[in-house]
Symmetry: C2
Subunit: 226 residues, 2 copies
């Protein structure tokens, strides 16, 4: 479902070129649970942002569902991002003025496929799944770090996307709460065949991965099956 | 150096009362390496924010260096926060328009105790200690999550404070980079007798702790020596 060929990404900083990705090649099959690992600064977020159609490559090919996203226009990219992908940001990126329920249901309101009542019910179910049933009226600033992270997780899963990109999804969670989230994702993967691509430093997340891709300085140094 | 008695903190959310801390009692000796652990939402950040003089208690006593901070005025609190405490936020709180070197040296500029040249030299030394020697001109938005976290760590250590409060300091770091940071803190603790209070979910951080305080729903359920 995801095919990456010779993917390169350069950032420019004043006059300096920062090569964050230097030519990546790998494939993710439908229903895979793949984990990207590597030191801080090795390019994990950059890679996930490109697959998530949030950033664009400098060079190379990225196919999602056999469609080349580097050839798409803004409208097509927005459609893929909304309908096919769920993204859990390393920095959460919640909307500060909305409460927990409103943050989670937000992408469903954009898709306009269900009634408001059904949408709210579904969002509250996801809030309960991530342990935040008693925090629905809290705004992001009125939550702990790990609670904000869980709102971001629920928001990415609520649209039942084909692909979930999770950037360090358990970084702010204790191991028990983290396990609850990983079990939720595993269930989705078994029941809906959702494809998961994690970036992580957490050994507990790696236990759930079936494939592991190891990055170092913007290059893949190892691919293995778990 | 830190004495907590019957510490309570309530947040108000509309008409609801959220009791984040429900009466904590513990002591930290000078030169301790103490770790606070507990599930997401158990009150770790709330506790560190109060000891760090960033937030105030609803009830109870907090002594730092035998001085009762709940009886201090704003000016005294600001002095303690600047001169005695280094704080590493769970959300980093870097200044977006300043680059890495400028963010790290910022508290030293506020203290006005050294020349600008000395301050910049010291800030660049700390940047090198946390592995960011090649990123001095990057702004926070031009850094990875773990690189931003390391800038926040360097900024907290650069003033050589009596007490360092570190809220999940390794959450965005791979284990090798995390170990580099913990070794740096251990060295400071041995050489300067700096007191460290970590909040963490990371088992690697716990290895460095000599005391562990376990929180659950705003109460201490266990205190142990490591
Ligand atoms: N401003 C606020 N208003 C209302 N409730 C709040 C506010 N800030 C925090 N809380 C609540 O207080 C409780 C403790 O939060 P705190 O941030 O201290 O937890 P934590 O142990 O640091 O969690 P984590 O490991 O997820 O970072 C949480 O349940 C949170 O929802
Ligand atoms: N906008 C930018 N401008 C310049 N350099 C950037 C920019 N964004 C990222 N970088 C650099 O690209 C490299 C890769 O960053 P990336 O965020 O992908 O790393 P990462 O593997 O996610 O790290 P972490 O585990 O710390 O989150 C880093 O060295 C970073 O400094
Ligand atoms: Mg990252
Ligand atoms: Mg916290």
């Amino acid at each position: 479902i995801i095919e990456i060929k010779n993917l390169k990404k350069n950032y420019t900083l004043g006059k300096t070129l920062v090569p964050a990705l230097r030519g990546l090649n790998f494939t993710v099959e439908t229903g895979d649970l793949l984990s990207v690992i590597g030191p801080s600064g090795s390019g994990k977020t950059t890679l996930l942002n490109i697959i998530g159609c949030i950033d664009f490559p400098t060079e190379g090919s990225v196919r999602i569902g056999h469609e080349e996203i580097t050839l798409m226009n803004d409208k097509q990219i927005t459609q893929i991002r909304l309908n096919k992908i769920g993204f859990i940001f390393q920095t959460f990126n919640l909307i500060p003025v909305l409460d927990v329920a409103e943050n989670i249901e937000f992408p469903l309101l954009l898709m306009k496929k269900h009634s408001k009542k059904e949408i709210r019910k579904h969002a509250e179910k996801l809030a309960d799944d991530v342990g935040l049933k008693d925090f629905l009226r809290h705004r992001p600033a009125e939550l702990s770090g790990g609670q904000r992270q869980r709102v971001a997780i629920a928001r990415a899963l609520v649209t039942n996307p084909d692909i979930v990109l999770a950037d360090e999804p358990t970084a702010n969670l204790d191991s028990q709460t983290g396990a609850q989230i990983l079990e939720l994702m595993k269930k989705m993967n078994e029941q809906e065949k959702t494809t998961f691509l994690f970036s992580t430093h957490d050994p507990n997340v790696l236990k759930y991965a079936r494939k592991i891709v190891q990055l170092k300085d913007g290059l893949i140094i190892k691919e293995s099956c778990n």
